[in-house]
Symmetry: C2
Subunit: 152 residues, 2 copies
DNA sequence: TATTGTTATACTCTATAACTATA
DNA sequence: TATAGTTATAGAGTATAACAATA
């Protein structure tokens, strides 16, 4: 186990990430909010999937996921197809327009990252990706009984 | 410059951080929201400082900072002292109660991190801290039209 | 005139709970 | 009864703009 000071530093750095994400989101197309982009990216990567599975992958409540998807469906970027195995469920799929939007948004994000991280090596970027992936896994796959100790 | 695929992966991992932060914030005392904790931590680390400097360090707008500080001042965790050099300005300082609150909150956060990251080495945590610090710097110190950091 | 900090307003993202329609 | 998804409502966090006091 690391020292309290080190954990405090980590917590502090994590707190600062949203500001980075906000700056990054300035390069998103104006009609596609960052949260919607996240949905498009996950659906693109995983292919056809259900609402509940999408919510799980995004790690947000299904009610929120539902609203994001409705927003995307209104704009014709995502289709909600009936699930032949369960009529309560809907299968999500990117439309060609959705793929175009995702590609355009990713171009913007990539350009911004390439600009800001211009003196980072591929190795640096990769290492950060790996650590963030490990962090995410540690907090989601891990002890999921939900009711953590509220220490104070 | 890294590949578009690698940057896309990084963007995706960054998107997932708020979920980690939310889980982490469950270990905060219920009357101290995470954003307030961030303010306490910065003031504690930097000592007496002005609103504008605090906003800069938090990388959020001063109007938002003002509200957080007002919230903390109402609870007696922070003092807003008159600045002898500029009567428009106010100097912020943690009260003993604020220090207690910060310590208690950090204990909770530390416990949660120690639990979730129980199989991480100190080296892993340190490496993640360093990369996040570099990332933050790249997005704030970097190409910034107006952040001239007048330290005082 | 410019700057420091506050307040009013609005926007984004999220969670909880109540609801529907199937299973 | 239980589950998939939707909608209503509320809360946390942020930004922009208008403002008061001071420089």
């Amino acid at each position: 186990m690391a020292s309290q000071e080190l954990y405090g530093e980590l917590a502090s750095q994590l707190r600062a990430i949203p500001a980075v994400a906000r700056e990054l989101s300035r390069s998103c197309p104006p009609n596609c909010p960052p949260a919607s982009l996240g949905v498009l990216a996950v659906v693109s990567r995983h292919g056809e999937l259900r609402m509940s599975r999408l919510a799980e992958l995004l790690d947000i409540d299904m009610s929120v996921t539902s609203r994001h998807v409705a927003h995307l469906a209104e704009r014709g970027w995502i289709d909600r197809l009936p699930d032949p195995h369960d009529r309560r469920s809907r299968l999500l799929r990117l439309t060609p327009g959705g793929m175009d939007m995702l590609r355009a948004a990713l171009d913007g994000v990539t350009a911004s990252l390439a600009d800001h991280l211009r003196d980072w090596s591929d190795q640096d970027v990769l290492e950060l990706c790996r650590l963030l992936e490990r962090l995410r896994t540690a907090f989601t796959a891990d002890c999921r009984p939900r009711t953590q100790t509220i220490t104070m």
